[in-house]
């Protein structure tokens, strides 16, 4: 069984495991391919048994790599691809099995989304037109608008777009446009929030803006505080995937041992 963590986040170290059971046969080779290009092999009869074949995006840590696993030091965007491990027994049969798995590599936004285009004061009957733009990421972040902490429904006019940059990262943009009613104000204030998220890696960051009724003043200090708390939240969220990967790997090895019974 092949265990390839996916998605991984750029900068991580990942271990790919290929667990097999030779069922009494002698091992000739374990070959690792990324996108059908060999980058590592473990041949017990060769010296050294573990050999690294340089490949862009794959930096193998030979010291940690073993018969049934490969350790990739720093995940980069190029690290993404289809990984295959191929196990062959010794002569004369050279019985060969292989398994494939794809690894996706994510890049999280370095900062939270930003709300632009809002006025400080609105009156009932005004049309609010605001944009929310996320920072660059891969894949593109999903954006959502909240009014007074309530997610806008389908009756609000929103337009989503993404922009792909040369480095392979994307920027998402979600515009919001609506007519203000008296219901939008609570105590003369209306809170607008844009939330950016990337699924599977539990990344969420948001930006908030307070809009005051014509009669009310916009409180800017409050806005800054909110931004800080957002940063803190982000750090917490970043730590979470690493923990998850560890947990997953141990689970994988368990499954692999089961798989090799089949082989």
């Amino acid at each position: 069984m092949l265990d390839v963590p996916s998605p991984t986040v750029v900068g991580q170290e990942v271990e790919l495991t290929c667990s097999f059971d030779l069922n009494g046969d002698t091992l000739y080779s374990v070959k690792w391919y990324k996108d059908d290009v060999e980058f590592y092999r473990f041949v017990p009869n060769d010296w050294p048994p573990g050999q690294f074949l340089p490949l862009s995006g794959v930096r193998v840590d030979l010291s940690k790599s073993k018969e049934q696993s490969v350790y990739i030091r720093t995940v980069a965007l190029e690290t993404a691809g289809v990984y295959k491990c191929e196990v062959s027994t010794e002569a004369p049969v050279f019985d060969t099995v292989s398994a494939k798995k794809e690894m996706n590599v994510y890049v999280l936004p370095t900062e939270g989304p930003k709300i632009t285009g809002r006025h400080m004061k609105y009156r009932v009957g005004d049309t609010v037109t605001v944009n929310c733009t996320s920072a660059k990421s891969k894949p593109a972040a999903s954006l959502a608008w909240y009014i007074n902490d309530k997610k806008v429904g389908a009756d609000y006019e929103t337009v989503y777009s993404t922009i792909l940059h040369d480095d392979g990262l994307e920027v998402s943009c979600l515009s919001l446009r609506f007519l203000i009613t008296s219901d939008h104000f609570t105590n003369g204030n209306m809170r607008l929030k844009c939330e950016a998220s990337i699924p599977r890696v539990r990344y969420t960051m948001s930006d908030e803006a307070l809009v005051i009724s014509e009669q009310l003043q916009h409180v800017s200090g409050l806005q800054i505080r909110e931004n800080l708390s957002k940063v803190r939240d982000t750090a917490a969220i970043v730590a979470t995937p690493v923990r998850w990967i560890h947990r997953l790997l141990s689970l994988l090895s368990l499954v692999y041992s089961l798989l090799f019974v089949r082989i």
């Binding site: 002569a91 050279f94 060969t96 099995v97």
Partner: protein, 812 residues
């Protein structure tokens, strides 16, 4: 890549093959999803060329990985269907990155197991059938292959059926249906073709159709022309188009004919009918029917109405009203010619005794188409009658009918009518008559100037009556009449038989040399009157130059002789005379020569033709002179010896000369007159040989009685002179009245013995004894061998006149 089953394929492993540390350590070939390599090459322990090759059970020895080629090739041969699939070659290097090359191999299975089946599902091949013309034909063709082959039906280059279906078992089937087989399908080749890809060779399977066919035509090829009855003909009928060849039957009307021969080839039948038509076959329908027994309604027919010609068939009959037994002279007779002929006769003819009859109203012959009328028939009309008729086939004649005509008796001609009889001598006389019916009663009578006596003693046998007659006195001579009677009537003109006193025969006549060769001479004469008695004929042959008797011959019946064994190139004198019991006739002499031998003959040709004649003449002159001297001598001697008997005289005479054979022994005692010396006269005549010395029937002046008798040469003193003496004769008085005056003139010559004739001596018929005309007698002499010559009898001072060549007319 595509491979064809049972052929080979070379799979490239298109990777780099560096040397050194990057050299190959292991090559693995995989097929499909299986993780077990089908082929491995393990070079980890040394050179790749000493590497260890290993194949799985499926490839076995069929595969070899050839590293020497670039790219290296995995060669599989023969390829099997199970070799199909995805192939991957993995090359492990010692140091370099592992490389892989993938290829897909498609294995084509060529079409196979193509079979053709008939409607019953039975497998067929080659020539199939025979089917019948018009039948439906269903064939199916099945084949297998991968990919599924196109199974198509073809006839030559024409696609017949391109639709096929695939059974669940993977068999492709194309069902061909020909709704109606016809003539054009015969021996056509139907081919089923199964093909799948261009790489494989299509498979063919063929059948050839055999078809039973109806005949297309039947024709009597012999030209329809009239046939001849009884003549065998061969008629030819031919039929084509039938398969198997047609059966041909011949029919004549409703009668099936036999005697048929056949020739069959391919689809033509020729039938020959050998057929002898009869008259009854005329206008009968003759047909030739051809059919193919396989089909019930395939018969064709050709026929003729034949025309049969035949020879006319004639049936001759007497007219219906005529009783054949009652036809007598003067009756009218008619014949009918009943004719059956096809085509009709062009003309009808009639024959009597084999000679064609023509209409002649004068003689009462009327020919009218198929009837012959004979008016007032005479007995000459008796005989065989036939009718003849001709058409294009030929001429035919009827049976003969022999016509009988009853008639009163008539005397049969050609009977001996003169009988010389001595007194008291008996003679048998036959009287033959012709009569129908032949039941006759005869009558005989003797007529002469004195009396007419009925005779009764005779024998009758049918139409012949015989009497034995003996004149007792001179009144017993005369004419015997004989006549008969039958139921038609009495004989109108009796048969006459003259009974005359018998005498010596007359000389022979018209002698001629018929043929002469070197050794043979043939002579033929006509017999003269026999003197009323049986005569025979004698020939003496004298060798002229040798003057010897060469031969003598006798002929009892006719005066004709063939003298053989004569010396060639010699001249002979031939003396011919007749002899009866009364004596001998005068001799007739002629000369002839045998032909010379060929050599001599050539030499003799140059001589003048006249020379032998001259020689003969000279000889004769000499002989005559001698004779004359001799005669004088004898006469004197005779005078001297006159009192001696005649017998002695004869003896003397015989001694006198070798030629004296012709002594006239036949002389009557009446004629032996003392003044005549017959022996000498004869001698003289004989001696004279070829010269005509005789005078004929000349009446001597003093013989007033006019009885011609022997004329004897008395004396001739010199050549050309003869004296004729007529013996005194009282014969006329010594006999009965037979030689009556009435018949004297014409019969006068007959009893006369002629002197020697020479050559072609014609006693002219005009030479009439004239009792009143003295001293004159005409003689005509023909001498073919001699020049005309004048001849003067001394005694009468004769003028001789040359009438014409070879003829001398002499007045005496």
């Amino acid at each position: 890549m595509t491979a064809v089953e049972d052929r080979s394929i070379s799979l490239p492993c298109n990777v780099s093959f560096p040397a050194g540390d990057y050299a190959i350590s292991l090559v693995l070939w995989f097929r499909g999803d299986s993780g077990v390599p089908i082929y491995s090459l393990d070079a980890r322990n040394g050179s790749i060329y000493k590497a260890f090759h290993f194949t799985d059970d499926i490839l076995g020895t069929r595969a070899y990985f050839d590293l020497t080629s670039r790219p290296p090739l995995l060669k599989i041969a023969p390829v099997k269907k199970k070799d199909e699939g995805e192939y991957e070659c993995r090359v492990d290097y010692r140091r370099a990155r592992t490389e892989k090359w993938r290829a897909h191999v498609r294995v084509i299975v060529p079409p196979k197991n193509a079979v053709i089946k008939d409607a019953q599902g039975k497998r067929v091949e080659g020539i199939i059938g025979p089917f019948n013309d018009g039948d439906m034909l269903a064939l199916s063709c099945e084949a297998e292959g991968d990919p599924i082959p196109n199974v198509t039906w073809w006839r030559d280059s024409t696609l017949l059926d391109g639709d096929y279906s695939v059974t669940p078992g993977g068999i492709v089937r194309n069902e061909l249906l020909i709704k109606r087989l016809h003539r054009d399908h015969l021996m056509s080749v139907l081919t089923c073709q199964a093909s799948n890809t261009n790489l494989s060779v299509p498979v063919f399977r063929s059948v050839t159709l055999d078809i039973n066919l109806k005949p297309l035509e039947v024709r009597i090829s012999t030209v329809n022309r009239p046939l001849l009855a009884g003549q065998q003909v061969e008629l030819v009928c031919q039929s084509s188009g039938s398969r198997p060849p047609a059966r041909i039957l011949w029919w004549k009307g409703s009668e099936k004919m036999s005697n048929i021969s056949y020739t069959r080839n391919d689809n033509v039948t020729i039938s020959k009918l050998t057929f002898t038509p009869t008259i009854q076959d005329h206008e009968i329908y003759l047909s030739c029917k051809a059919d193919n027994p396989v089909f019930s309604n395939s018969a064709l027919e050709d026929g003729w109405i034949i025309t049969v010609y035949h020879l006319p068939m004639l049936r001759l009959s007497l007219g219906a009203n005529i009783q054949h037994d009652s036809i007598r002279e003067g009756s009218d007779v008619y014949f009918d010619c009943n004719i059956q002929a096809n085509p009709w006769v062009s003309e009808v003819g009639w024959r009597f005794e084999g000679k064609t009859l023509f209409s002649d109203t004068k003689t009462g012959i009327i020919i009218s188409n198929q009837t012959l009328v004979l008016q007032k028939v005479t007995r000459e009309r008796r005989g065989r009658y036939q009718c003849v008729a001709a058409n294009v086939v030929g001429e035919a004649e009827s049976e003969e009918i022999i016509l009988r005509v009853h008639y009163a008796p008539v005397c049969k001609s050609g009977q001996k009518t003169v009988f010389g009889v001595d007194r008291l001598e008996s003679v048998n006389i036959r009287c033959e008559t012709l009569a129908d019916p032949s039941d006759l009663t005869f009558y005989w009578s003797l007529n002469n100037t004195f009396e007419r006596i009925e005779l009764h003693s005779f024998i009758t046998n049918g139409t012949v009556s015989k009497i034995t007659y003996r004149p007792r006195t001179r009144y017993g001579y005369g004419v015997l009449n004989c006549w008969a009677r039958n139921e038609i009537g009495i004989q109108k003109e009796p048969c006459h038989f003259s009974i005359i006193p018998a005498g010596r025969p007359e000389p022979v006549k018209k002698c001629e040399v018929l043929n002469n060769t070197m050794t043979t001479i043939e002579i033929e004469c006509e017999a003269g009157y026999n003197g009323g008695l049986k005569q025979d004929f004698h020939l003496d042959v004298f060798n002229y130059p040798l003057e010897t008797l060469e031969a003598n011959l006798t002929n009892n019946n006719t005066p004709s002789f063939t003298v053989n064994n004569l010396p060639p190139g010699t001249t002979f004198i031939f003396a011919i005379y007749s002899l009866n019991s009364k004596g001998k006739s005068h001799s007739v002499a002629l000369t002839a020569s045998t032909l010379p031998t060929p050599e001599k003959r050539t030499a003799k040709i140059e001589r003048p033709g006249i020379s032998p004649v001259l020689g003969i003449l000279i000889g004769i002159v000499g002989a005559l002179v001698l004779l004359a001297i001799l005669t004088v001598a004898i006469m004197r001697y005779k005078h001297h010896e006159e009192n001696k008997g005649p017998g002695e005289q004869d003896i003397v005479n015989k001694h006198h000369t070798p030629f004296q054979k012709d002594i006239d022994e036949g002389l009557d005692s009446d004629t032996r007159e003392p003044d005549v010396i017959p022996a000498l006269a004869v001698d003289s005549q004989e001696k004279n040989g070829g010269i005509e010395t005789g005078s004929d029937s000349c009446q001597s002046a003093h013989n007033g009685k006019g009885r011609p008798r022997d004329f004897t040469v008395l004396q001739s003193k010199s050549f050309g002179t003869t004296s004729v003496s007529v013996p005194e004769d009282t014969q006329g008085m010594s006999y009965s009245e037979v030689s009556g005056t009435a018949s004297q003139v014409s019969d006068a010559v007959k009893p006369t013995n002629s002197p020697i004739d020479f050559g072609f001596y014609n006693k002219a018929r005009s030479l009439v004894f004239q009792p009143d005309q003295e001293d004159e007698c005409n003689i005509t002499v023909e001498t073919p061998l001699m020049e005309p010559m004048s001849y003067m009898p001394e005694r009468h001072g004769v003028n001789s006149v040359i009438n014409q060549r070879n003829k001398v007319s002499t007045s005496v």
